[in-house]
Amino acid sequence: MPENADGNIQVKAGRHREADLYKALHGAGAADGRTLEQLRQAALGVYDATELPVWRRSGFWTTNLQTLDLDALDVRHHEPGEQPAVVTRTIPERARAGRIVQQDGSVVHIELQSSLAEQGVILCSLQDAAEQHQQLFAEHYSKRLTIDRNKLEAANAAFWSGGVFLYVPPGVVVEDPFEVVYAICEQGVAQYGRTLVIGDRASDFRVHEYDLAENFEGQSLHAGAFEMYLHDGARARLAQIQDWGSGEVYDCSTRVVALARDAYCHWLPALLGGHLVRQHLELAVTEPGGDMAFRGLFFTEARELLDVFAVDLHETGPSGGDVHWRGAATGQSRASFEGLIQIDPGAQKTHTYLQIHSMMLSPKARVDAIPSVLVSADDVSASHGGTVGELDETAIFYMQSRGLDRPSAVRVIIEGFFEPLLTELADEHLAGLVREKIAGKLAAAREDIETYAASR
């Protein structure tokens, strides 16, 4: 097995405890009636007692954070004021329901359409919510997020500051997106971001999260925790655009979306960059009638390393799931994807499908995709499929024969590869932003892609 040149990746055979590492959280939340202060204290204990985590899938990959100098990072606070340049520069101008921006350790900007505030929509920092909306906070905070699985999860639970709280009241329908932004503007920052979104009964809304960083030299960290609860009949479209820039940004985050009776979520993370990104993404149907479309795309470049664990969890049936991911890798980057379908005992009449398609654009890039299925009910359907591809030279020649130069033809193929997901975003602003970022990454990797093509 090849070893990545920067030494972050090594693949070892042998004994391991991977069964514990790639496992659904499965509702094992930490809250359990404890107060925020008690939870912070408990998490601090775990933080002090544990080392930086390692995730190992034997025969495939190991993701470890040993190059992260955690002691050199600190939480930095800012007064509310101007939004960071990377935010205004990146996010498309468009009608929005509201926006909340956390820079480093502090929320620096909050806006909410006044008509929505009048209908009872709440958009504020999580810190404020803990004080001003105690009941909602207590009922949901850390309900399905753990605090003790690893040092960085514990760090988030112990040290989080600022944070995002969004509450959409029963029956409220919001067309325009709520924008949740986490920005890191310099090196040396530890950002412990924490988001809690509650969609009350029969609400219907969109959330667009942006995770952005300036291109700086040196290390920073985003250790994030995200939880979203959709109550009976609620519907949400959740998109996440992540691009931590060219700096050495580590992102180790856990995100959970839980669907109550007849709730629906369309979730699409677009993971477009970060030095080392480790994401545990879990979409759980917790009551009958829940339905989900779990989409995702990634594009890694240079020496980036991405490790995604995506869980399609059905605690009860009838329920529906549909997981569809696409990713591409250039440079010496490495993307490791594990998709898990888990159907619990009693989750009868669950129908779900998982597919992962990847495209290798460089001889030194590597994409691994492991689909796994854990089924404990007998009246269900669950299956998976996937493809691994390279650039199709016949398609390139075909397009060249129509007048497109080679880089344009490559771009068209890659855009076409991601298009099924971009179409599903059903949002031209977001799709345009993703296309633009992918085009930029392709342009940066042009030489690499050409060398690869020539060598085949």
């Binding site: 016949t394 024969s401 129509r402 007048g403 068209v412 855009e415 590869f417 298009e419």
Partner: protein, 263 residues
Amino acid sequence: MADLEIRNLHVRTEDHEILRGVDLNIDRNEVHALMGPNGSGKSTLANTLLGHPDYEITEGSISFKGQDITEAEPHERAKAGLFLAFQYPVAIPGVSVANFLRMAINAKREEPIRVKEFGQELQSAIDLLDVDRTFTSRHLNDGFSGGEKKRAEILQMAMLKPDVAILDETDSGLDIDALRTVAEGVSKLQAEQGMGALIITHYQRILHYIQPQFVHIMLNGRIVLEGGVELVERLEREGYDEIRRQYGSEVTAGANSSGESSA
């Protein structure tokens, strides 16, 4: 000097030589038919004319409108006004026919085409090729039937308005209605825009709808016989065997039986 001049063209793949000295002149307003059995090198010639990277020119030259394009990149040849209707069109998932056409047209222009102008041209091409309007919003060749793929090729030709088009077995696999539509499309473009055409086929069928002025017979990598439309009739009577008996003896029959690429 002809618009497209092929001089003593020798082409090989990694494995063996396929074209062994082809000479051919094609001018605008002319319709040429290139016929020959499977493996004779017809598709190799077509792909080489557009610069397919798998085919290496070892000798000879190609010039187009006075420019030597022997070494030109495929997209440069297209921009100069050459077009190839592929024998096996390639699916481009995720890219609609209309979007692809817009990109291809804009690649040839300084300024992007205006939306209205593009719409009008697309509509007239749709009418010409007798396809459904929804055709252009489908992903290019993705899940198309054989006939749809061939129509899509001619639709692209109609939109890109080449000076010389090479049609590589566009007639293969078409039913008689589709064949007629495709042939009428080609004839119309030829009549209206003065397009030159090289129609590659090994059936006589399409030539009942498009009358070629020049007919060339290829055998084992060479054009062995040239003439007018009467050659087509002779082929219909005698078949390739007779031609092979007369002209094929100088080369080893079957030496490049796998030479015709499907690329």
